[in-house]
């Protein structure tokens, strides 16, 4: 466990919400898909504990940023998954979060690599 996590980056507080919202921009997805997608797109660099995903999903649902519905998975009609999708309020929230994030990244970048800017 320890060596495994040493080369991974711990997720910052609050960023998980943004990642989930971002993931759902591409269309509805269930919990497992969201987790895999985040892992894949970050090349396994970000460690998303599957366990912390669900409280976050339910929190976002309660805030009304995402909505959920049980639906059968594509071809396999027997199996149903709880699909989450972005709501209009969630889209707005995502835009706000992303612009905040960009400002933050920019600010940090300016501190860490001042030369590059000048």
């Amino acid at each position: 466990m320890t060596d495994e996590s040493s080369d991974r980056i711990q997720l910052m507080q609050g960023t998980l919400d943004m990642l989930i919202l971002r993931t759902l921009v591409f269309g509805p997805a269930h919990g497992h898909q969201i987790a895999k997608h985040i892992q894949r797109t970050t090349n396994d660099l970000l460690q998303v504990e599957h366990g912390s995903l669900y409280p976050a999903l339910h929190r976002l649902e309660r805030k009304g940023w995402i909505a959920a519905k049980w639906e059968p998975a594509g071809k396999d009609l027997k199996r149903e998954f709880k699909y989450y999708r972005l709501t209009p309020a969630g889209k707005k929230q995502l835009i706000a979060e992303e612009s905040k994030w960009k400002q933050l990244v920019g600010a940090i970048a300016r501190v860490i690599e001042p030369a590059e800017e000048g």
């Binding site: 599957h50 366990g51 912390s52 339910h58 309660r62």
Partner: protein, 886 residues
């Protein structure tokens, strides 16, 4: 609802996580690895639940679960607390149910707030023949109905609870019934349970083939609730009626406390009522209650003004005949009035308003005592559980959580007590209403649960919970971890201030129970005064018989002769010692008076026409002069026997024998002159509580209008009443099949007149005793508790040579101080509060010193016993055990 949603979400979450695990397991090919990747599922679920935002409710649930566990773990405490609360709340709710039924409940008809009662402003003031002061005459009803504009409908019915003979021959029975106007049901907007109800078409002058509407309960009882009852014939007072419909189940009329089994149209009165009452032209027979339904937009006040404005011509059109000009003039100037009647009318209200309010107060005080007991128990427990609380504070429990938990226990006890109390109240109120009803005058109260009662019980529960829950909760939260852990629950002496609140509670309990005991003794003594009162006549061994002779169709002289013959026939029946006729039995159902004049004196006096032997039968001494005899006939000069009061009022100190007085005219009772032939001792007349009125007795043979419907006889016998009654019934059935007899036991009838006093004595006695018992238990608990906390100190004293007596004295001195304070406060309060009972007491003052002393003495003795027991236990402490360190 909440639980369903909650369970659904839990189920969803399980499914979601399971689906995730399945996918992960497929991907990794290993279920265990999948579980590892997901992490601790319990924690995930907890986190998700907290994301749902239900923690407050959940905490509350866990508080309740915990409180349930705590209560289950100390069953003795729980049982004592629950049962005292159930008793307290049950008693309160039961009395409230009665108050609700008698006073608050709306009539079970649509828009009851539109209903008003129409009456003569200030009542009819004893004019004519009337059941109660608010009744009106039939001609007046017609006038009002045809001339008013304030009401969408005006209805009338025969109020006061009459009964009718139903069936034929031996199987006939008297059944409560009413006569109603055709507008009765339509105006009330009542719809039938079966068949149809009356319309104005049923109430026509000709009244050929009248119908009858049955009460729902009667239909269920006697017709098995069968549809086929509709259309059947029912013989009422010898006349056939067709059953046209059934009144709905919840409708028992407009009179609270009464119910009807039969409703007949007013037009049928000629068949079922005595001629004088049935006569539609009689403007002096007040027998109808009149209601109106306000038109939309009208208020009772507006309707009242309207009625007042149109009164004059209505009165003019219904002037009474046969009265003096003065009385007619008085009638002419009367005005009509409308009073709101959304909860019906009831003769119970006047009689039982004060008793019920008092009982509600009494039961509230009992509940207060019960609450203090529970509070005391909970405080003691809070102290005993100090360690547990301290431990939890030390482990980081927020104080608010501790308060909530203790309050939660209180809430559970309160709601448990309220539920049990509600169940108990059903039984109590039901038996109370049964107790208040009598055979001749059954009480019918709608005691079903309604919003009023439920709200009352709920507010009781909340009040109770606050009363006994808050203090222990605060006490619990004040737990000091360090202090509590250090002493380990065993102090050398317990601080006085720890008990001060408990002591206060005990003082309060003693004070309140003294107030209740004083009240109880007052009512018991008042009842005893009445029950042992000498009414001036014989009560035992007398049966009152009313023979319905209406079917003999007697004419005026015929009925006079018949009564004489029939009386001697009754006298000849074995077991019958003697019998006498009267027109109005003493302590019976009514008052009959006329206005008399002699010289300058003019007053009204009670009057009765009686047969010879009447005074002898009732043991009323004839003080001077003679009894009536065979020489007093229809044609001989009119004679009278008067009582002392009448003699004093009309003749002062002069010897009244041989003097004359006159009666003022009334319909059927023309003015007449009477010569006094005898004076009898004063007696009570209608109400034992009232002083003896002036009474005139005249001989039956000279009664100007002998009753062709009823013969009323006093029958004296040594044999048990049931045997005599059976005997007479048999004899009369054989010789006069057309006569229907009815019997009452004279003594029972008199006792039933004291129902209110009996009720107050019984209930206040019971509650007073209960209060004293609870208070003594409370005192016992506190003293026992103090002794327990002072074990070490007492142990040391005994070890140092204190004798048992000294120990007992020390402990009891403590109790005596509490008791004396409580008694002193209680005595003060009773002197102030007892005034509320004044109107219900007979023959003693509410501040009767003897009563106060007796109550205080009783309670003091109980306190002594309650404190002696723990004191004696303290004196027998083994110093070694007491002092042995834990």
């Amino acid at each position: 609802m909440f639980w369903r949603r909650r369970q659904q979400r839990e189920h969803d979450l399980d499914r979601e996580l399971r689906a995730h695990l399945e996918l992960e397991a497929e991907e990794q090919g290993d279920a265990n690895a999948a579980r590892r990747t997901l992490g601790n599922q319990t924690r995930i679920k907890e986190d998700v639940r907290s994301a749902w935002g239900w923690t407050t409710i959940e905490q509350l649930c866990s508080d309740i679960r915990f409180a349930l566990r705590v209560l289950r773990s100390s069953p003795a405490f729980t049982v004592v607390a629950l049962s005292s609360l159930a008793l307290g709340i049950g008693a309160n709710t039961a009395i409230f149910e009665l108050v609700n039924a008698v006073r608050l409940r709306n009539l079970p008809v649509p828009n009851p707030q539109q209903l008003v009662r129409i009456q003569i402003r200030g009542g009819n003031r004893g004019m004519g023949i009337s059941g109660d002061e608010s009744q009106l005459t039939y001609p007046l009803f017609l006038q009002i109905r045809d001339h008013q504009q304030a009401f969408s409908g005006v209805l009338a019915w025969s109020s006061g609870g009459g009964s009718f003979l139903v069936g034929e021959g031996v199987q006939s029975r008297r059944i409560p019934g009413v006569l109603v106007s055709g507008d009765f049901f339509p105006t009330l907007h009542v719809s039938p349970a079966a068949g149809r109800l009356f319309t104005p078409d049923d109430d026509h002058k000709a009244c050929a083939a009248p119908g009858v509407v049955l009460g729902y309960r009667y239909w269920q009882r006697d017709f098995g609730g069968r549809q086929s009852a509709i259309g059947r014939r029912l013989i009422v007072e010898g006349h056939p009626f067709e059953i046209v419909g059934i009144a709905p189940a919840n409708f028992s009329g407009l009179e609270v406390g009464k119910s009807f089994d039969l409703a007949m149209p007013l037009c049928a009165r000629g068949s079922v009522l005595p001629k004088w009452q049935a006569d539609p032209s009689r403007t002096d027979v007040y027998w109808l209650a009149i209601f109106g339904r306000l038109r939309a937009g009208w208020t009772a006040t507006q309707a009242s003004q309207h009625l007042q404005a149109i009164s004059r011509p209505l009165m003019e059109a219904t002037l009474p005949v046969g009265y003096t000009t003065f009385q007619v003039e008085r009638y002419r100037s009367r005005t009509l009035d409308a009073i709101s009647a959304e909860n019906g009318i009831s003769s119970l209200r006047g009689e039982y308003d004060t008793p019920l309010s008092l009982l509600l107060g009494i039961t509230a005080l009992v509940l207060l005592i019960a609450c203090s007991n529970v509070a005391n128990l909970m405080l003691a427990r809070a102290t005993a559980r100090g360690r547990e609380f301290a431990m939890r504070v030390a482990l980081g429990a927020p104080r608010i959580r501790l308060i909530r938990q203790t309050l939660c226990e209180g809430l559970l006890l309160a709601s448990g007590g309220a539920l049990l109390g509600l169940a108990l109240s059903r039984i109590l109120s039901d038996s109370l209403s049964r107790f208040l009803g009598t055979e001749t005058n059954p009480l019918f109260l709608d005691l079903s649960l309604d919003a009023h009662v439920l709200a009352f019980t709920a507010s009781m529960a909340i009040t109770v919970c606050v009363l006994f829950g808050v203090m222990p909760a605060l006490r619990a939260s004040a737990a000091e971890p360090m202090a509590a852990m250090k002493t380990g629950g065993r102090g050398l002496t317990a601080g006085r201030e720890r008990f001060s609140f408990q002591r206060l509670l005990v003082v309060f309990q003693i004070a309140v129970s003294l107030v209740l005991l004083v009240g109880a003794l007052l009512f018991v003594r008042s009842f005893r005064n009445l029950a042992t009162l000498n009414p001036g006549f014989r009560e035992r061994g007398i049966v009152l018989a009313s023979f319905d002779v209406s079917r003999l169709n007697l004419d005026l002289p015929g009925s006079r002769n018949f009564e004489r013959r029939f009386l001697s026939e009754i006298r000849s029946i074995p077991q019958v010692e003697t019998a006498a006729a009267t027109t109005m039995a003493l302590m019976g159902d009514g008052v009959w008076s006329l206005i008399f004049e002699a010289g300058s004196a003019r007053e009204d006096a009670r009057v009765a026409w009686v047969s010879p032997g009447h005074f002898d039968l009732l043991d009323i001494p004839i003080l001077s002069g003679r009894d009536f005899n065979a020489t007093d006939t229809e044609n001989s000069p009119k004679v009278a026997i008067i009582n002392q009061k009448f003699a004093r009022r009309f003749f002062g100190n002069a010897n009244p024998i041989g003097r004359t007085f006159r009666s003022r005219p009334e319909p059927n009772y023309p003015a007449a002159e009477y010569q006094v032939i005898g004076v009898v001792h004063d007696t009570k007349y209608f109400d034992l509580r009232q002083p003896a009125p002036a009474i005139v007795y005249a001989p039956s043979s000279q009664d100007p209008t002998p009753d062709s419907y009823w013969c009323e006889f006093y029958i004296r016998s040594q044999a048990p009443p049931t045997a005599v009654i059976a005997n007479i019934r048999r004899r009369v059935a054989a010789s006069h099949p057309g006569i229907t007899p009815g019997f009452r036991v004279f003594q029972t009838q008199i006792e039933e007149g004291l129902m209110r006093e009996r009720l107050m004595a019984l209930l206040s006695g019971f509650f007073g005793g209960l209060a004293a018992l609870l208070a003594v238990i409370g005192l016992y608990g506190v003293i026992a508790y103090i002794v327990e906390r002072r074990r070490n100190e007492i142990g040391v004293r005994i070890a140092l040579g204190a004798r048992p007596f000294t120990v007992i004295a020390t402990v009891m001195k403590d109790a005596a101080a509490l008791g004396a304070t409580g008694l002193a406060i209680g005595a003060g309060c009773s002197l102030v509060l007892a005034r509320a009972t004044a109107s219900l007491l007979f023959g003693l003052s509410p501040r009767d010193p003897l009563t106060l002393i007796a109550a205080a003495g009783l309670l003091a003795a109980a306190i002594a016993v309650g404190s002696y027991l723990p004191a004696r236990r303290a004196s027998r402490l083994d110093p070694l055990t007491a002092l042995r360190p834990e």
